[in-house]
Every structure is written in structure tokens, then in C-alpha cells.
């Protein structure tokens, strides 16, 4: 036994033996090692591996169910102790809330308080959020983009162009959807809506177009280049515009912003909120559309 241990120690030190040898840890074997193991031994390793995998899968399920149950119970239990919904004296009904409601319209120039909050009071967060979308688009591109000559086109056997109901309805609806989307974007500071919702409507319109009329046609309307240019331009504009307002927002820089809130209620009011809404909307639209195209086609063009 003793010599056995020392022999193993020596082997372990040289990297030829691990405590898991012959068990489930085949993944840690080097490429050369795998060749040396003889075929019958390999079979035993595999069957052992299968058994271990089975056991660990069962363990995993049991543990995950227990953990999820505990977590849900804790969270549901906590809700009981939270302040009531829409009570008058909850901690969230404080000076910040009052300020947003009472001064929001005059300070930001936006009739829609939410737009004033996300694009003026807390514009830095929204800058981050639109970059979350950009990050997600680039990540999906990194994951899914095929080489152009690579994969064959996949046919899913569904051609909505042949469906008289879908085709006719889509033909009728798409222009309306797009117009509504643009309206929501431009009216974001005046009525409920804004960049995120308007962009989602626009993106939905383009996705419907691509689904019904085929991706080839959609690519002609919104090509890879257009999607890229629009997102790059919108994000750059967002960065520059917000840099300007962050820079001028601090007195020690000695520069004051020349952009005022304007006359609340007018279409051209709210300072940077309208252009920022447009920028956010374009980014959201491009992100949704690129997701659809990438998952469907594997590329944007």
C-alpha cells in the first residue's frame, strides 16, 4: 500500500496519474494520452463515465429543485414584508418622486415625465442601456455569423406569400405599423412612448416584412450596411450629445449648455430628448431586426 502510494505520487508529479484516473475525468487527459489507452479499457472508462454522468445528473436535478424552492420561498416570503403597493407613505414616495412629478415638465421640457426621467435626469443609465443592446447585437453577430460561402440556405417550408390572409393583412398592416412606430418615436416626449417602445414597434414592422415577403426583399430595404450605419450613427450621436450635457452640467468647466427645454408641449421641445429618443429608437429597431435576421439567416446581408 505504502509503495503504491509513493508510486502514484511519483506518477502524479510527472503528470501521468490523477486521483480520478479511470473515472469520469477523461476530459483532462491530453491528446497523446487518449491514444495510449487500449480499446477495452476505453470501453470501461466510457461505461463508468456514463454511470457517473447519470448519477450526477440525478444529483444535479434534486439539488437544483431544492435550491429553487428555497429561493422562491425566501423571495415570496419577503414580499409580505415589503411596503404596500401604491401606498401614500411608502419609502419610494419621497422628494425624488415629488421632484420628478412637479418640476419634471419645466426642467426637462418633456410632457411625458418618463421620457424626461430616462433621457434627462438619468440619461447616463439610458446611455448604458442602449449600449447593452449594442453589446447584445455584436455578441450575436460573433456567435452566429456564418461565412458567406459556408452554410446552405435553410428552407423552413413556410412561405407566407402564398397565404392569402397573412399576405393581404401584412400588406395592409406593415405601413401602418411603421407609421405608428415613427409617431411614437417623434411623440416620445409628449405622450406615452419613446425610444424603446417606438423602436420595438418599428423593428416589429420590419421583422413582419421580412417574414412575409422573404428575407431577400427585406435585405433590399434594410441592408447590412444600412443597419450598421444607422446603429453606428445613432450610438455615436448619443455618446457625443450626452458628453456635451455631462460636460456642461458641471459648473467648474465654465461652459453652459445652450440647449433649453423649450416650450413644453411643442413638437420641437424638450432639448435633447427628441433626438435622443430617435437615436434610442433606431438602435432598438436595428437590434431587433438584426436578431431576427441573424437567427433566421445567419447573416445580415
Amino acid at each position: 500500500m505504502k509503495t503504491d502510494l509513493f508510486a502514484h505520487l511519483k506518477e502524479w508529479e510527472e503528470g501521468n496519474w490523477t486521483p480520478d484516473q479511470g473515472q469520469a475525468e477523461a476530459s483532462s487527459l491530453g491528446p497523446r494520452e487518449e491514444k495510449e489507452i487500449k480499446e477495452p479499457k476505453k470501453k470501461i472508462i466510457r461505461s463508468l463515465e456514463k454511470k457517473e454522468l447519470h448519477i450526477s445528473a440525478v444529483q444535479y436535478r434534486v439539488i437544483s429543485v431544492i435550491v429553487c424552492l428555497i429561493l422562491s420561498l425566501v423571495l415570496i416570503g419577503t414580499v409580505n414584508f415589503l411596503p404596500g403597493f401604491a401606498d401614500e407613505d411608502t419609502p419610494t414616495t419621497n422628494e425624488v418622486y415629488e421632484h420628478y412629478i412637479e418640476e419634471g415638465r419645466d426642467q426637462t421640457g418633456a410632457v411625458n415625465t418618463v421620457a424626461g426621467m430616462i433621457l434627462d435626469y438619468r440619461a447616463f443609465d439610458t446611455l448604458g442601456e442602449s449600449f447593452v443592446l449594442f453589446t447584445a447585437t455584436v455578441a450575436v453577430l460573433l456567435l452566429l455569423e456564418y461565412k458567406k460561402e459556408g452554410k446552405k440556405k435553410r428552407e423552413d417550408g413556410l412561405d407566407y406569400r402564398l397565404d392569402p390572409i397573412v399576405y393581404a393583412l401584412a400588406k395592409f398592416l406593415i405601413p401602418i405599423i411603421l407609421v405608428v412606430g415613427i409617431y411614437i418615436l417623434f411623440n416620445g416626449h409628449l405622450s406615452p412612448g419613446g425610444g424603446f417602445s417606438g423602436g420595438a414597434v418599428l423593428g416589429g414592422g420590419f421583422i413582419l416584412y421580412a417574414m412575409v415577403f422573404g428575407e431577400e426583399k427585406a435585405v433590399r430595404v434594410l441592408s447590412e450596411k444600412t443597419v450598421k450605419i444607422v446603429s453606428i450613427a445613432s450610438l455615436s450621436f448619443y455618446c457625443l450629445a450626452k458628453s456635451y450635457s455631462f460636460f456642461t452640467g458641471n459648473e467648474f468647466n465654465g461652459v453652459h449648455s445652450v440647449i433649453g427645454p423649450g416650450n413644453p408641449g411643442d413638437l420641437l421641445s424638450g432639448g435633447l430628448i427628441l433626438p435622443l429618443n430617435l437615436a434610442v429608437g433606431f438602435v432598438v429597431c436595428c437590434t431587433m431586426y438584426s436578431f431576427y435576421m441573424l437567427f433566421k439567416r445567419g447573416r445580415l446581408d
Binding site: T78, Y121, D125, L127, K228, T248
Partner: protein, 501 residues
């Protein structure tokens, strides 16, 4: 001079902007953008640090036209610019050192996107360091999560996709818990900015109102960030993830991304929750126990594995354990040691990953120890880098890894039972560290015991890699030899962290 107060915001927005620019450019230009961004941002962080060292030491910068509870703001004391500087420098080191492998690992179309993601990770890390608003923190955690996942899966290789998926599941679970924690905390404090939140948390804790939601919120925030940074027992995503990605991505992830989350956690603990509340909520003891378990079990796993990258990854789990143990001890000395541990680990881990990748390159990419025999003779600088990194991780004096271990031991005294736990855990963990790092060192320098297929082409000398190894070595030894200025900086910075809001 006051212009320097703009620097933190410039670094964040510039990183975001340059990611858009890199997206519009071609591969090599995008790489150039990343290098220059990281270089410029390092200078800017240094500027902020210098400004705060010579001036008041702390400032708050308004992000927009509205003052604190109404608008967003960022703040910088001494620790924020220091760690932001560390993050950008280590990222630059890792990128330059792993540049060749990035080029050969990635498909042509993905090369540019990799650098876009690098810029986004940097933006997120800078924002996590400087933010004074919990929701801004969350937004940039999201960016960091997605971008680091993308860095991992950039190498389209079956295993790395599986590993990235696993990382994503863990990381999203962490983000989800953090988000729920933020929501709970907001609904009982009514604020999102750190100073206001701190005041309400203190008054809530003394009045005893909403005690249960507050405790749950703290628990969720801490566990979410602990999962994301890989605390035991949530470290199982580490080996696969770091073992299969391109070395620069592993270096960035283990070196700085996990530290970014930890730094944000420290901000939350000291600047939002308040240390007394944190201690009395009892979560501290859980962290202490998990930290110690992580120190030991991370090392045990590292001994069991036969793959050099897995071993380094498991050793990360052990090192993260040290950090949480320090947080669990909860004295000023312990926090200073944990800050130093962050610094030491961020400087050493990238070195190990980059060197290990070069070593395994000499053996046709095999990562098991038996194939790595004598690989250090084939690539001298990789061997040198690996040796220094290993010695530093073990905690040999003159290397930077020694300093935090010494400080942890010193900080542990006077805590009763905890003292023994820390000292014994430190001793066991150090011995285990020696066991597995020494074993690799012996392996890479000893002559081959059997015929190993070597790559038959001649190595192209990777000068950049060699220069980076030497630079990191110099920094490592320099900090290991004169740690006192940094410790003084941490000392002053931590006081600002605690008392100036």
C-alpha cells in the same frame, strides 16, 4: 487642474464611443483602437489618481444638470482611480501578450468584434469602479456580462461554446439576484444613489423597520456578485471557461472582470449598506466560511486535475476565496489585505494564463502535464513568466503574492476562533499551492520522460509576448519589494471610502 475631474466620465464615454468606432472599422484598425483606448484611459485614470492625491482626495461628478438624488453621478476617491488604472493596464498587458493567439484563434470576421467587446468590457469596468449610483452599476454589470461571454465564445470551438454557455448561465443567475436585490433595496429606501441609500439603510436598521427585506436584499446583492466573481461553491464554471477560451480572454476574465464585480461589491458593502449593518446582518460570517472553504477546495481541485489551464483556473477559485475571507474578517486591516490581494491576483493571473498558453503551444497545444515536460526550455520567456507567476501565487517573498498573505495573517489576530481558522486555512492553502504549482514547475523544466510530439515548425519569436512577460515580472517584483506606498494609498483610500460620501 479642475479639468481633471472630467476624466472619469471621459474614460467611460470614450470606451463606449470607441467600441462603436471599432465596429465601423476593419480588424487591425479595431485592434489599434483598443490599444490606444486602453493606453489613453490608463493615463486618464492616473491623472485622476494624481489629482486626488494632491487635492482633497475625493470628488463627486454630476452626470447631467441635476444634483444628487435627482440625477446620476459618479465619484472618485483614491481607490476608484487606482483600481480603474489597474484594470486598464492589466487588460492592455493581456491583449498585447496574447495578441498572436487572438489572431490565430479567431476567424477573420470575428477578429474585429473581439476588440469591440474588449472596449465594452473596459467601459463597464471603469463605470463599475467610478459609479455612485446602484442602478448605473447594474446597467454596466449587464454590459460586462454579455461582453465577457462574447470574449469567451469568440473562439469558435465546440468546447469553448459550451463553456461560454455555462458561464452565461452562472453569470445571468448572478445578475438576476443582483437585480432583485436592487429592487428590494430601492423599494424600502426610495433612492438609487449611494449616499442617500446609505442614510436610509442606517435609519431603517436602527429603527428595525423592514428588517427582513433589508437582510434579504443584502443577501441577494452579495450572493449575486459572489456567483459572478466565482466564490466557492459557484466556481465550477471557471476551469472549462478559462481552459478553452483564447488566452487573452481568460487573462482578462480571471484577472480583471471578476475583480470588477468584487470592487463593486466592496462599494456596495461600505458605501451603501454600511459596515455595521453588514456585520450584524450575519452575511459576513457566511462569506468568511465560504471564503475559507474556497481557499482549500479550490486548491484540492487544482491538485486533482491534470490540465495546466484547469489548474490555473482552480487556483483562481482559491485566490478569490482569500478575498472573501478578508471581507468576512471585516476589519480595516483585513480589507486592506484583500485590496492588495485583488492587486496581486490581477497582476499574476494573466501572466500565468499567457505563459501557460505559450508552453502548451510548444507541445502542439496539449495541456496535460505529461506533454509539457521540458516545454520551458523550448520557450524561455514563457517558462520565466510561468515560474514567476507560480512563485507569486504560492506567496514567496519578493513577489507580490506574498504581501497579501502576510497581511491576512497579521489582520487575523485578535478575533478568537476566527484567528485560528484564518491561520490554519492560510497554512493549508499555502502548502496546497506549493504542491500544485511546484509540480508544474518541475514538469516544465524536467526532461521529457517519453517521446513527445513537438511542433515541427520553428517558433516565430513573439517579441511582444516576451516584452510583456518581462514587464509584468518587473511590476510583480517591484510591488512585492516595496508594497508600503500602495498600502498607504489603500489605507487613505479606504478611509475616504468609509467616511466621505
Amino acid at each position: 487642474m479642475d479639468f481633471m475631474m472630467n476624466f472619469p466620465f471621459i474614460t467611460i464615454v470614450l470606451s463606449l464611443f470607441s467600441s462603436v468606432i471599432a465596429y465601423a472599422l476593419k480588424g487591425k484598425q479595431a485592434r489599434f483602437v483598443s490599444y490606444s483606448l486602453l493606453g489613453i484611459c490608463s493615463l486618464l485614470h492616473l491623472g485622476v489618481l494624481f489629482y486626488n492625491l494632491t487635492g482633497d482626495g475625493y470628488f463627486v461628478y454630476r452626470m447631467g444638470h441635476y444634483d444628487a438624488p435627482i440625477g446620476n453621478e459618479i465619484s472618485a476617491g483614491l481607490l476608484e482611480p487606482f483600481f480603474a488604472l489597474l484594470f486598464s493596464l492589466v487588460m492592455l498587458f493581456s491583449l498585447l501578450g496574447g495578441a498572436k493567439r487572438i489572431f490565430s484563434d479567431l476567424e477573420e470576421g470575428k477578429y474585429k468584434l473581439f476588440y469591440v467587446m474588449v472596449n465594452l468590457v473596459h467601459a463597464a469596468l471603469a463605470a463599475l469602479a467610478y459609479t455612485n449610483d446602484i442602478f448605473t452599476g447594474y446597467v454596466f454589470i449587464e454590459i460586462c456580462t454579455i461582453a465577457s461571454c462574447a470574449l469567451l465564445m469568440a473562439r469558435s470551438h465546440g468546447k469553448s461554446l459550451v463553456a461560454a454557455t455555462r458561464y452565461m448561465i452562472f453569470s445571468l443567475m448572478g445578475s438576476g439576484l443582483v437585480l432583485i436585490g436592487i429592487i428590494l433595496l430601492y423599494s424600502i429606501t426610495g433612492h438609487l444613489l449611494f449616499p442617500q441609500m446609505y442614510e436610509s439603510v442606517q435609519s431603517l436598521w436602527t429603527s428595525g423597520e423592514y428588517r427582513i427585506p433589508l437582510t434579504v436584499a443584502i443577501g441577494l446583492l452579495v450572493s449575486g456578485l459572489a456567483i459572478k466573481s466565482g466564490l466557492f461553491p459557484f466556481h465550477f464554471w471557471m476551469p472549462d471557461t478559462y481552459g478553452t477560451a483564447t488566452p487573452a480572454a481568460s487573462a482578462i476574465l480571471s484577472g480583471v472582470v471578476s475583480k470588477g464585480y468584487i470592487f463593486f461589491l466592496l462599494k456596495l458593502v461600505f458605501r451603501v449598506i454600511g459596515f455595521e449593518v453588514f456585520v450584524s446582518s450575519g452575511i459576513q460570517s457566511v462569506l468568511f466560511a465560504l471564503g475559507i472553504l474556497g481557499m482549500i477546495f479550490g486548491s484540492v481541485s487544482a491538485i486533482r486535475t491534470n490540465n495546466i489551464n484547469f489548474m490555473i483556473a482552480f487556483s483562481s477559485a482559491a485566490q478569490i476565496g482569500y478575498i472573501y475571507m478578508g471581507l468576512g474578517l471585516g476589519t480595516k486591516e483585513a480589507v486592506i489585505s484583500l485590496l492588495f490581494q485583488i492587486l496581486a491576483h490581477a497582476l499574476t493571473k494573466p501572466m500565468l494564463f499567457l505563459a501557460a498558453s505559450k508552453l502548451s503551444d510548444t507541445a502542439s497545444g496539449a495541456q496535460d502535464f505529461a506533454s509539457l515536460h521540458s516545454s520551458a526550455h523550448d520557450h524561455l520567456f514563457a517558462g520565466l513568466g510561468y515560474s514567476v507567476g507560480a512563485l507569486s501565487m504560492v506567496g514567496i517573498p519578493i513577489f507580490v503574492g506574498f504581501v497579501p498573505k502576510l497581511f491576512f495573517a497579521m489582520a487575523a489576530f485578535g478575533h478568537g476562533l476566527q484567528t485560528y481558522c484564518v491561520l490554519i486555512a492560510l497554512a493549508i492553502s499555502t502548502i496546497l499551492n506549493v504542491v500544485y504549482f511546484l509540480r508544474t514547475l518541475i514538469n516544465i523544466y524536467s526532461p521529457p520522460t517519453r517521446k513527445v510530439t513537438r511542433r515541427h515548425f520553428v517558433f516565430q519569436t513573439d517579441r511582444l509576448f516576451c516584452v510583456m512577460m518581462v514587464l509584468m515580472l518587473v511590476v510583480n517584483v517591484a510591488l512585492g519589494l516595496c508594497s508600503q506606498p500602495v498600502v498607504n494609498l489603500f489605507d487613505a483610500g479606504f478611509d475616504l471610502f468609509l467616511f466621505v460620501r
